[in-house]
Structure formats: C-alpha cells, structure tokens
Symmetry: C2
Subunit: 226 residues, 2 copies
DNA sequence: GTCTATAGGCTGATAGAC
DNA sequence: GTCTATCAGCCTATAGAC
C-alpha cells in the first residue's frame, strides 16, 4: 500500500504521521511473522516474549507497545491459522459433484494437517478457550466458514434428493469433520498407528462413511438406515 | 498384602527392612495418587514437583528419592491411564454380536473420554513422545490391547464371511478409532460444534461407517465398494 | 518509542546437614 | 530418609531513564 500525500510538498505533518503509522504496522507485522516462525519450528509452548524480542532484535518491553500480552499474539496467530486452513480447503470445495468434492476436501484437510502440523496444533489442539472463542464469537470467521464448506457437501446431496428425508447435513458434516480431525490429531499427538498412512486412512474413512462397511452382509438392526 | 515374617519372634532384621520397604512403597503410591488428583483437577501442565511435594507434605527433594524426575511420574500416570481406558472398553468388548459390540465399545470409548477428560488428555493428547513410546515399546500394554479389542470386531465380521474378501480389519479399526478419537478430542479441545452431543455424534459415526450415508442414491465411482 | 533494569513469579533439580 | 537452603534457569510484565 503506497502512502497518499495529504499536502503538496516535502510530505509535511500528515506525511510524517503516516510514515510513523506505517513503520508501526510494519514492526507489528514483523513480530507476528517471527512469532509464527517460532511456533511452527518449536511449537506453541516455546513462544516466549523474551525469545521473540531477541529474534526481532528489540527489547521485550517493546513488544508490549504492539500487543497487550502474549495471549494477544497467540490469538492473532490463531486467527491467521484458521485463514490458512480455510484457504487450503477452498480449492477442493469448488469441485462440482458433491461426493467428489467430499473426497477432495477430505484430502485437502488431511494434507493441511500433515504439512502444517504446528498451525493445526495451534488452531485445533492447543488451547480450548482460544479456538472455542474464535468459533463462537466470529460466526463469519474462517473457522465457521470452513465448516460451512464441508456442510455444503451434504446439503447439496440432500437438495438433489440423494439422501434420506430425515438425514441431517449438519450432523453428517460434524461426523466427517470429527473423523478427519481424529486422523490428523492421532498422527500428530500419538503416532501409534503405524500400519496405515494418514492419506490411506482418510480415503478409507470417506469411502466407508459414504458406502458403509465393504460388502457387509447380515441382518440389520431395526433402527439402521434411518 | 500382609507381611510374611522370616524370623520367629519380634520381627527382626528382615521384618524391619520389610516394613521399610512397605512404607517406601506406600509413599510412592501416595505420591502417585496425589499427582493423579492434581492432573485430573488442573491439567497435566499444572503438575509441578513443588506443588506435588506440598500436597503430600514432604520436601521437594524427597520426591526424587522415589522418582527419577517429573517425567517418570508422568509416565507412570500415563501407563495407569491406559489401564483405566482398557478397563472401560472391556465390558463392551464382551458383547457377542460384532456390530452390537462395535456400538457398545464406541459408546464406552466416548463415555470414558468425556467422564475422564484429563486422563484422556494425558494418554492421547498431551505428549506425543510418551504415548507413542508406550504403544511401541509395550506391545502387550493396555494401549495396544485396547486397539486389539476394537480390531476384534472387524476380524470377527470377516471370519464370519460378513465382509468383503479384500477388506482390512486393521484398517477399519484404525478408521473407527480415529473417528472416535476425533469426536472426543474435538469436544475436549475445541467445543466448537455445539449442535450435536458427543453421544449423538458417536451413534451417527458408527451407523454411517457401518451402513453408509443414509439413503444414498446416485451412481457410484468405479473404485467404491472395494 | 525504545531502552535498561528489575520486580516477582514460576520451574526442575541438587548439596549437604541431620 | 528427610530436611533446609539454594542453584540456575525460565517466564510475563512493568517502571522509569533517555
């Protein structure tokens, strides 16, 4: 963004205050950039005001002129993390056919989680208060919009008459989301299941959710297929 | 456990050392009991040697006579947590019919996670190194055995000829596990999806995994139903 | 705006007296 | 075995000089 001069020559009062404003915003941005780097490299717990100040080559006290406290930095990083997450889902969400779209979005979800583990951690695993706040207090934020993209799959299926009358798109979206989240977070926090890669698990999850257990035979309980 | 006397009268050397041994074990047990309480109440991060020492009314240094360091306490708590988890799954695992068993175990899994959030956190969400170690280095530990119980559902289905020839019980178990883990961990770390309770999500997850999307119509991609 | 200096916490862990 | 005392380090946040 280029500064707009408010007086004709040499800048002047407005020019100076604008430059200051710009420099201030730049420093703020730099702090966030470096903070993000630290979180991505060493995890969220390793983000400390001292180390951050060192890294941007300012005194710790200076950080407090730009952010109220450490939490404010974390919150900002979290907001941006949700933005990146949404951006990662969007290409897949443009696929026409709902089932293909579901597969594409699921793949994008898992890929994002594996490629940006610390970002994923930050927004979904780190601080319950933070992510809950961001979901609840910003209905138009990137978090809710990401969920809406996924819910769209099931809404479209239902609108096309391809789902049962009493099927709940929201609930199906939540179940799918939970499944994907489970795959990613098991890989991130407990790499216990070595037998199957996350991508394979994701493919199996979607396929099984859509079509049921492969080749299932036998009597079905009364309340099934509702 | 009642002490067995090795000499006939008044106790004697062996009796004294046994009493000491017993007292030592009792203190160790008390430390773990209090540590568990602290973790359950305030979270794993809040477990500090000083506060723990305060709570058991010993000096901090005393703890180090019973545990090498803080990690050793965490590891012990984790092992016991897996034990509790396994115990929670076992009743459901005794159900005869595989599909009913799946439902019972899924319900038990989610119930355990919601009723013992801090234990669940400790064993599945807290420290990747810790739980991974416990899974990998103790193939007969409670963690792997829990997974084996779940895998049994799909092995039994396949053995009964109720699944496709090329279906992988292990993979289906991993997918199911991931789904359940996702439900619990979303509730614990990001209570964003308020619309549906964890129990409802769990029921929908199992039903959808077993039978597919409710009333799905439309052409299926070639590779489906494999 | 930026600095130095520091307050006032917390932490895990240990040396050495008793 | 248990204690006191303490080391050595981390942390967030702020007061006050420049």
């Amino acid at each position: 963004m280029v500064a707009v001069r408010k007086v004709k020559s040499y800048g002047g009062v407005m020019g100076i205050s604008e430059r200051k404003e710009r420099q201030r915003a730049e420093l703020r941005e730099q702090i966030l950039r470096v903070a993000r780097e630290m979180v991505v490299k060493e995890g969220f717990g390793a983000l400390s005001m001292r180390k951050l100040a060192d890294a941007v080559e300012y005194a710790p006290a200076t950080l407090y002129l730009h952010f109220e406290n450490r939490d404010a930095i974390a919150r900002e990083l979290c907001v941006r993390g949700f933005g990146e997450f949404l951006a990662a889902l969007e290409p897949g969400a443009r696929v026409k056919d709902p089932l293909e779209r579901l597969m594409a979005m699921a793949a994008a979800y898992v890929r994002f989680g594996l490629e940006h583990p610390e970002t994923y951690r930050l927004i979904f695993l780190e601080d319950a208060r933070l992510s809950t706040e961001l979901f609840r207090d910003a209905p138009d934020g990137a978090g809710p919009r990401s969920f809406a993209l996924l819910a769209g799959v099931f809404e479209d299926l239902k609108a096309a008459g391809r789902l049962a009358e009493d099927a709940s798109p929201t609930r199906l979206a939540e179940v799918t989301w939970a499944g994907l989240h489970g795959i990613v977070s098991l890989k991130l926090t407990c790499a216990a299941f070595q037998e199957t890669t996350a991508e394979e698990l994701q493919a199996s999850l979607v396929e099984t959710l859509v079509y049921g257990l492969p080749g299932l035979k036998g009597e079905k309980p009364a309340r099934a297929r509702r």
